[in-house]
Amino acid sequence: MTETIGIWIAAFLTLCMFSFLYKDNPFYKFAEHLFVGVSMGYYIPYTYYNAFIPYAYNPLFLKKEYILIIPFIIGFLYWFRFSSKYSWVSRYPIAFGMGMVGMGVPMSMHATVLVQMRSMMLPLDNINIILIFIGTISILLYFFFSKAHEGVYGKFTSIGIWFMMVGFGASFGYTVMARISLLIGRIQFLLGDWLGLIK
């Protein structure tokens, strides 16, 4: 019975969502607002049980690691956001979390710049590698902002645009394909497993 109610609710909500394809309507609005509320409501107990209890409450109050009082207080400082006078206090926890960016400096230099540079330095011994090389260099120059795209230089950078567009086209095609297979899968399940229309 719970299950049946569940399936009916799910079906009803699915229809509400699909009704948006026809046009914006009260059913869609209802489902949309419900979705917003339920999903936020889902996060609160989830965070409480899976983050607050094991990482904050247990170590401080049960394991008696009193040093954790400090981050506990820093966490509370977030709440000053609601005071118009003291809202600057909430910058402290934000700043603490931002400390991580220090790692981003060398890490992104290493992982996304230097590693990519190495993979570009292959010997130019076949046409595809030469094309990749030209493509990458011209895209890099396309994103070089200190020189206007004019003359020969402009022509070269526009090669970059062409490469990018072909690349984007490929990922476009792939994404379209993936979305459609998702829909097909859904309809196969609906028609086959639920309604039994196809076998």
Partner: protein, 315 residues
């Protein structure tokens, strides 16, 4: 002028209905397009098929996927299992996701229905769900001793006491590891199992991920791959034309479309079941929708250009 206007102003709901029809109709009325098989899929089929009838070789299927990607991956699960049960190939199944365990159960019981002689723990063994954190110890440990690394099957039985394990020791007895997932899990198998123990690894992936495995296929780190519904459809076809007709794999024949057509004529009833054609039927729908969308793009743009020309003229 009027035509262009009309094209531009088609109600979107009509488009939605056309799309829906383009998906539903091919699913209900089978079109039966023949698939062209490709090398990565053939390679995987050949690799698995080479273990046919051997009791000291098995394939290991890793179902590390969740229900979200089932539409694309489930037909692969079924096709490979059917291939193995039909050709008497031993199968191990494992999953490092809790949801994967349920998928294994579902796939095994669905295929087993049609193969009453296939017995659990004799012809196949389901290792079940193993926690994500044990993934590395298990992958590495199987190089030494599968029974020791995996310990128990999904029913909690000790592996070394099971009949299927009598001739199985380590990766030497694993013909190929088939990783079916919507993530880059396959690369873990390459790094930890292939590089160290030389076991062959293949992957079944969602279409979006498929493009990322080309370098691995080219370097031979993956012996084969199934990419999305298309890969599954190709595998289904190979199982139909070879395994279901009791034939050994031959690439020459697989590429001969006339021969393939002929094989379809003599298929047993079992192969006609919807569940074993799911990927091919899905691919038919996919092909239709692709063509439809291309048609939409072209038509939409014709309208756009006519419109623009008209605007230019009027200026």
């Amino acid at each position: 002028m009027k035509f262009a206007d009309r094209i531009q102003k088609v109600d979107r709901r009509i488009i939605y209905v056309i799309l829906l029809l383009a998906v539903v109709l091919p699913l209900v009325f089978r079109l039966g397009f023949k698939t062209y098989t490709t090398t990565p899929v053939e390679d995987l089929y050949r690799h698995i098929d080479a273990a046919a009838g051997k009791d000291d070789l098995a394939i290991l299927m890793d179902f590390t996927h969740d229900p979200g990607v089932l539409p694309e991956l489930y037909p692969m699960d079924l096709a490979i299992l059917r291939h193995c049960f039909e050709r008497n190939i031993k199968v191990f199944t494992i999953s490092f996701l809790p949801q994967g365990a349920a998928i294994i159960q579902m796939a095994l019981s669905e295929v087993k229905e049609d193969y009453p002689n296939i017995e659990a723990n004799v012809d196949y063994c389901n290792f079940g769900f193993k926690p994500w954190s044990t993934k590395l110890p298990i992958m590495l440990g199987m190089g030494d001793d599968i029974a020791e690394a995996v310990e128990t099957n999904s029913e909690g039985l000790k592996l070394e006491n099971l009949p299927i394990m009598q001739n199985m020791k380590n990766y030497d007895n694993i013909q190929v590891v088939v990783e079916i997932s919507g993530s880059s899990m396959g690369q873990f198998w390459v790094i930890y199992a292939r590089a160290k123990f030389g076991v062959d690894v293949a992957v079944g992936l969602t279409a979006v991920m498929a493009a990322d495995v080309y370098p691995y296929l080219q370097s031979g780190q993956f012996v084969g791959s199934l990419g999305g519904l298309k890969g599954a459809a190709e595998y289904e076809q190979l199982v139909d034309i070879f395994a279901m007709n009791g034939l050994e794999f031959s690439k020459k024949k697989a590429r001969n479309m006339a021969w393939v057509e002929a094989q379809y004529e003599e298929l047993p009833e079992l192969a006609q079941l919807y569940k074993y054609n799911k990927a091919r039927i899905g691919m038919d729908a996919q092909a239709i929708v692709h063509v439809l969308i291309i048609f939409f793009i072209i038509l939409g743009n014709i309208g756009y250009f006519l419109d623009r020309r008209a605007q230019k003229k009027s200026m």
